[in-house]
């Protein structure tokens, strides 16, 4: 039985969020959300101030991906709301749970082009899982309850709650419901035993079967189940970039991510496979290259929680709809029951292992001391395996994919769908808030870090000591690489001219800044940063001409890789 209580809409919002277990909100106040902000004085929820609303959303996103509970961000109406939009779209593209709460002009001012009014519901609709605009205070408890449920269930995503200012200040009899009904929303829960059985049969009859682990494997934390299936059926495992680290990358069956900048051995084996168990993936163009080439000769078993993903980009012979952890668990059980256990003597597995060994020896790397591979392998060597990695977007991100091996599953996060530059650093802060006891490193490039570098203020003032690991080529490196490759080396709009000086920048915020120009300096810098109780920016100058290779050009197939010459 819930007890009715009279309170304002703003108070009801905070009370409902406390009931959902919210411990902190990332945000920035303004005129239209002041009544909500005033409630921070009277509740136990911590407020973490940002310097730009986009960063608030990325922090909530990072928190949500790591904790698998929705992160919460606040912004005011108008520009506050539009600033947060990129962060919401990023969470939607990567299926991250998030609650974004925006202030809105009072109900009777909506549609009057009032000061700081924006139709954020209309603007956000295509990039949210759902959006609410309560028009009366009494609706707020149920809206919050439904919002959290929608954000974290099924295929997770961002939910926007846009609250007009008078709805925040009005009082009402509040009923905090324990139960509610959303008629048109039924996240798939039941296992699909029949299709899992068919899938096992197909995998057993394939000559060259392979597992493709997507981001959904990480979202549902199906790590143990994935490993059990791979080991029992002796299946090599490739991942999408978003699925990187769903499977330990030091495992003998691991081949790493496929795709535009996939590992050579992963792309080769994916292209040769005759049957794929694709888990929690939407077959994005960046992962599979051209769809036609991908499906040639290939039988596809597609497991996904979102029925709309089945057949959207890629048709499948067998579809298993539902939570991938639930269905993989069914698969493990059935394999046990049937006493199926394969050994690694098949010609396919032998070929996979030889290919992996070949590329380990023969992929040409940058010859200099400060090549990307050496730098990232050094980072891997010094970081404890439970450390969390976020990345920015660009060359450094793809180098991280190639050269930083994830050993503990579910410790690597990146803006993979929308590819939002500036995501990594604020997301690292959110990740650190979710898991304060493990080191958190944002693998960054100078161009991408520039976009949200003012979050250094949040890192320092809110005491969130993360490490920003800047591979600094003083260039928008990925764009430069495309200009070198496809535009006859006409370099337009990519030079950063060493501006700013990231060591001084870090220091001006009260953070630690270290420049590392040799392996020796890098070793010291990483150890220093790991023992520092303040956020550290490690600035690592690198060769601006270094390309990310292998490279599968857009619109071509995985077997047509451009390799280092």
């Amino acid at each position: 039985m819930s007890k009715m209580e009279t309170m304002t809409g703003a108070k009801a919002l905070m009370t409902a969020m406390e009931k959902e277990g919210v411990k902190q909100v990332f945000g920035l106040p303004g005129g239209a959300n002041l009544p909500m902000y005033d409630e921070f004085a009277r509740c136990d929820i911590r407020h973490i101030l940002v310097r730009h609303e986009q960063s608030a959303a990325h922090m909530a996103d990072g928190f949500g991906r790591v904790s698998r509970k929705p992160g919460v961000c606040f912004a005011t109406s108008g520009p506050g709301a539009t600033n947060i939009l990129t962060g919401i779209a990023t969470a939607q593209a990567d299926s991250a749970p998030m609650i974004a709460v925006t202030g809105q002009v009072p109900v009777n001012m909506i549609g009057k082009d009032a000061f700081q009014e924006s139709d954020i519901i209309g603007m956000a609709n295509p990039v949210v899982k759902y959006a609410f605009q309560p028009r009366s205070a009494a609706e707020i408890p149920e809206v919050v309850k439904k919002g959290f449920f929608i954000a974290e269930s099924g295929r997770p995503g961002p939910v926007l709650i846009d609250i007009p200012k008078d709805v925040q200040t009005n009082e009402a009899q509040m009923d905090f419901p324990d139960e509610f009904k959303i008629q048109g929303y039924h996240p798939w829960a039941d296992p699909d035993v029949v299709n899992v059985e068919r899938a096992i049969d197909m995998l057993l009859h394939a000559e060259k079967p392979i597992i493709l682990a997507g981001g959904g494997t990480i979202i549902s934390s199906a790590f143990a189940e994935l490993q059990a299936v791979a080991e029992t059926l002796m299946l090599p495992v490739v991942s999408t970039f978003k699925g990187k680290g769903a499977f330990p990358e030091n495992h003998p069956l691991s081949l790493g991510p496929i795709g535009m900048h996939g590992h050579a051995e992963a792309n080769k084996m994916m292209a040769e496979a005759d049957c794929v168990l694709a888990i929690g993936t939407r077959f994005s163009d960046r992962s599979v290259g051209t769809f036609e080439a991908f499906e040639k000769r290939l039988k596809i078993i597609h497991m996904d929680v979102d029925p709309a993903e089945i057949g959207k980009n890629q048709s499948a012979q067998i579809a298993v709809v539902g939570d991938v952890k639930v269905n993989l668990r069914v698969m493990v059980k059935l394999l046990l029951q049937k006493a199926i256990k394969k050994t690694d003597e098949t010609p396919w597995i032998k070929h996979v292992k030889e290919t992996k060994a070949y590329w380990k020896e023969n992929l040409k790397l940058h010859p200099g001391e400060m090549g990307a591979a050496k730098i990232l392998r050094k980072l891997r060597e010094l970081l404890p395996k439970e450390s969390l990695i976020t990345t920015e977007v660009g060359q450094h991100q793809m180098w991280a994919s190639l050269f930083y091996d994830v050993i503990q599953p579910g410790t690597f996060f990146s803006s993979t769908g929308l590819g939002t530059m500036g995501w990594g650093f604020p997301a690292a802060l959110g990740a650190k808030v979710a898991k304060p006891d493990v080191p958190v490193v944002d693998i960054a490039g100078d161009g991408s870090f520039s976009m949200t570098e003012n979050s250094l203020a949040t890192a320092v003032l809110e005491d969130i000591p993360v490490i920003v690991f800047v591979l600094n080529n003083s260039t928008l490196g990925m764009v430069a690489q495309w200009q070198r490759t496809f535009y006859d080396r006409r370099m337009i709009g990519v030079e950063q001219h060493g501006c700013p000086d990231y060591v001084k920048l870090a220091e001006s915020y009260g953070a630690q800044g270290i420049r590392a120009q040799s392996m020796d300096e890098l070793d010291k810098a990483i150890k220093n940063a790991l023992s520092s109780d303040v956020a550290t920016v490690i600035d690592i100058p690198i060769d601006p001409e270094e390309d990310v290779l292998p490279f599968v050009a857009p619109g071509t197939s995985l077997s047509d890789m451009i390799l280092p010459s």
């Binding site: 209309g122 295509p126 759902y130 048109g184 929303y185 029925p307 057949g311 959207k312």
Partner: protein
Amino acid sequence: MWAILSILVENKPGILFKVTHLFRARNFNIDSISVGITENPDYSKMTITTYGDEKQIDQVVKQLDKMIDTVQVERLDELKTVFRELCLFKIKLSNANDSMEVNKLANAYGGKVHDVKSDSLMVELSATPEQIKAFEELAKPFGIIDVARTGVAALQRSGA
């Protein structure tokens, strides 16, 4: 291929926007749309006709189904469905014979005649889009001054 989609939604503001936006954002086309409240005032029913290949139509149904505001999404089988569209044609009358000819044509399609003037008349037609198209072709030689159409409304036949 052509498809009739029947979509039951919660009767709340903004849902028509979301449904039409989904078609735009996912690169699908709306051929016609009609919306009205159902016998239960908590729900509205949208009938959308669209075209695309089998895979596209399958995908649009799944995307509509995924929308939280949609309660039920059905692709109706043309052969098991009664579907009609209301259409008004204003047709030009050039000589004394035309009035009689247009009247005959309207009768042949079960239409009603309204607003008869010396130089024009209006025909109301409730028919399938195909029949409306056929009527339009036959009315063209007289001169069509204006047309207004409602979009298709459809219900599955009982027991079908």
